[in-house]
Symmetry: C2
Subunit: 144 residues, 2 copies
């Protein structure tokens, strides 16, 4: 398994609402049949009906709302950008579950949930610099 992730598909209950939310954050989606695709760096974020996603994965979905055990993170280049994005997400209908604050690792971050409860951390982490193209490189922790 080469080191890559190609798509992240979020199960949603209302495709139009979910699309509007992510477009309010500034991303541009494409409708493809009953899904919406967003190009995010070198991968795709996809929105799709949660019931169909569960069926497609061959799993039973016993819990149609709430925390799914996964958090996505969007890192930014400054603490001010964290505040701006958390405020934008809240205006767009997201729920701030952890207001932005200084973190134990010397960064600054907060968390919001999208309209379907998917968790996003917005973080400025000086130890994880972003490249010009937005990609993140995990530091070599052993040699620090």
């Amino acid at each position: 398994m080469e080191p890559r992730i190609s798509l992240i598909t979020l199960g949603v209950s209302d495709l139009g609402r979910a699309r509007s939310f992510y477009e309010a954050l500034g991303w541009a989606g494409q409708s493809v049949q009953e899904t919406v695709f967003f190009q995010v760096g070198g991968l795709a974020l996809v929105l799709w009906d949660r019931d169909r996603l569960a069926l497609d994965c061959g799993v039973e979905d016993q819990r149609p709302a709430g925390f799914g055990g996964i958090a996505l993170a969007h890192n930014v280049r400054s603490p001010a950008e964290v505040d701006q994005l958390i405020a934008t997400a809240e205006r767009a209908g997201g729920t701030v579950t952890r207001p932005a604050a200084t973190t134990f690792y010397g960064g600054y971050a907060g968390v919001f949930l999208d309209p379907d409860g998917h968790a996003w951390e917005v973080a400025h982490n000086p130890s994880f610099p972003l490249a010009a193209d937005g990609s993140l490189t995990v530091p070599d922790f052993d040699t620090r």
Copy 2:
């Protein structure tokens, strides 16, 4: 919000078991405090205790196992690679919930769950070519 995802954190119940599973698939992790970081393309996949992840996100986790409403996908360059990776995942302790088969979009794909129930689709999709660096570009569907 610029178009990128920086980290994907999977909540797990047994960090050692989860790390062993992903290392059996061929990824190399780094232990960082109570987490494990994998560099996957331009982002990081992180394993962390699910209870702590929920707490960190400021959410209550009412459902400690099962489908979380998100599916990750790992695209490969041939149908044979799909079969190989699904078999490797099964040997490593994953659960195949959708055996590899031809898909409606003319590809070939299957789905496995990791030991904590996180869903991974392994897909060969001729319409979504992978670049040499493994990155995926969403086609311009409007002009096809």
